[in-house]
Amino acid sequence: MNASLRRLTGAGLDRFGAYLIDLQADKSLAAPNSLLFDKAYSEQVQGGGTVEEVTLRTKNDAAVYLHRLLGGMKPDDIDRDVGLWSWLALYYFEQVCPVELGKRDPHKPPRYIFEPLNHQRRYRHVLWTPYWILRVMPDHNRIYLNESLTVHGDLVEQTLSRLVNVLRLQGFREVVDLLYFNEETGTYKRGTLSRKRRGSLWPRLVTRVRQLSLTYDVAAMDGPQIIEALGEEFSGWVGSHGA
């Protein structure tokens, strides 16, 4: 069923939040879909598009679809709209928290109820995060988006809030893809997030790129140029060596 885009009201958020807490105890509880179109719990988004019955298997599927759906709205407004993102999570709840063998495997509430003002937890939202990644990383984003929508993942949890200032650099995005994406497994290489391994994404790459930015115009450098400037510490990650 296609429907106009809506947002949960305060009362709707309360009810959805209560459901998510109850769901932790009883994983077979049905989603409170009645909130979606009940005027007591949700309201129509002015200027919003029409939500569709689409299949969102990967984060990339969700990101591309959401950009199409929300293209007519201001990013600033979208990024603060708790009710909108929470309504979307409920609308697609069967996909973002599917039933398997009669039960769901729910994450904690911030996965479904958006917390835009919490700089750590906002990146946990199942739909806003892929949408935001595609906006900030229009290219070389597969390391983040080439993953099942139902998986949150350590890469997102540990790096997004820390990389927000460097992901805007096209060359940095290319470096992340060239060094840490494993073509064979379709995800990031082992050790990418290791503090012990030389040349890991966090914290070493971020530290080194910041150092380079004191000498070079990093904003104008492409990935291979940055990798060359990074030096030997990162050479073990080039190509399939780091897989």
């Binding site: 835009p116 927000v164 200032n165 805007r168 004191l214 000498t215 115009d217």
Partner: protein, 260 residues
């Protein structure tokens, strides 16, 4: 301990030599002027605009040091938030990878009514950014390589409160000082400040040393986190003492017209 090294002769451009003027509200544009950069005429100039609360940085080519060539339409379309700052970079592009010849960071723009020869807005140690913070009143954030004091624009007159309310000053600023200095001396481990360094950590560290009762550097023992926290407490206490913060709070709490 981290130290800032400058192997390449990169020049720090004083903010007094760069002026940026912001125009318009709905569609913000800006102009840039500089003087006496003492850099090669062929150095290519880029101006980058950013604000707290937005991951986006807009980059504008601005000709060369000797021959400025502004873009025809420098609109800050993608930089959201009320408080915009700028970096100006001068780049040597004679080789395949551009090297920084000079940089001026964190330039605060002037308003359109500023006198033509007025220098750029002084770099604020703690720019204030009014944004929607939900149920929070204030928060320190670290974006675009500097700290910001975000305050909740849902509160009427919040910027006036920040500027002149003794209660806000007394209750918020000592906490802000601690929060920022923890980031400098414990998270980033910046423990010495070179005199000419203009990065935000060095500016804040020099500020802390100035306010420390003995004008001492923070302790630099490798694991001396407790010592650094104590140094931060000393700075905050000294700051409060100098500004008689508690007395001013008491005065502000008196009912209007009450005799003291």
């Amino acid at each position: 301990m981290l130290r800032r090294l400058n192997y390449t002769g990169r020049k720090k451009i004083p903010q007094a030599q760069v002026g940026i003027t912001l125009r318009g509200k709905e569609q913000r544009t800006f102009t840039v002027a500089w003087k006496d950069l003492k850099l090669p005429e062929s150095g290519v100039v880029y101006v980058e605009a950013y604000s707290s609360g937005s991951p986006t940085v807009m980059r504008f080519p601005w000709g060369t040091v000797g021959k400025p060539f502004p873009p025809s339409d420098p609109v800050l379309a993608d930089v959201t938030g009320d408080t915009v700052s700028f970096d100006l970079k001068v780049v040597d592009e004679s080789e395949s990878v551009g090297r920084l010849l000079g940089i001026c960071r964190g330039i605060r723009p002037r308003g359109p009514d500023a006198a033509p020869d007025e220098t750029a807005g002084r770099q604020s140690l703690l720019p204030v950014n009014p944004i929607d913070l939900g149920d929070e009143v204030w928060r320190v954030t670290f974006m675009h390589d500097r700290p910001w004091l975000d305050v909740n624009n849902r509160i009427p007159g919040i910027m006036d409160i920040v500027r002149s309310d003794a209660r806000f000053f007394a209750l918020v600023f000592p906490a802000v000082i601690r929060r920022v200095l923890i980031h400098v001396v414990i998270v980033d481990e910046i423990l010495t400040a070179e005199d000419d360094a203009t990065d935000w950590q060095s500016l804040w560290l020099r500020w802390g040393i100035y306010w420390h009762p003995d004008n001492a550097d923070p302790p630099d023992g490798e694991e001396d986190v407790v010592g650094r926290l104590s140094w931060i407490d000393d700075v905050a206490e000294s700051f409060c003492k100098r500004h008689t913060v508690a007395a001013k709070l008491l005065e502000a709490m008196q009912p209007e017209g009450a005799s003291r």
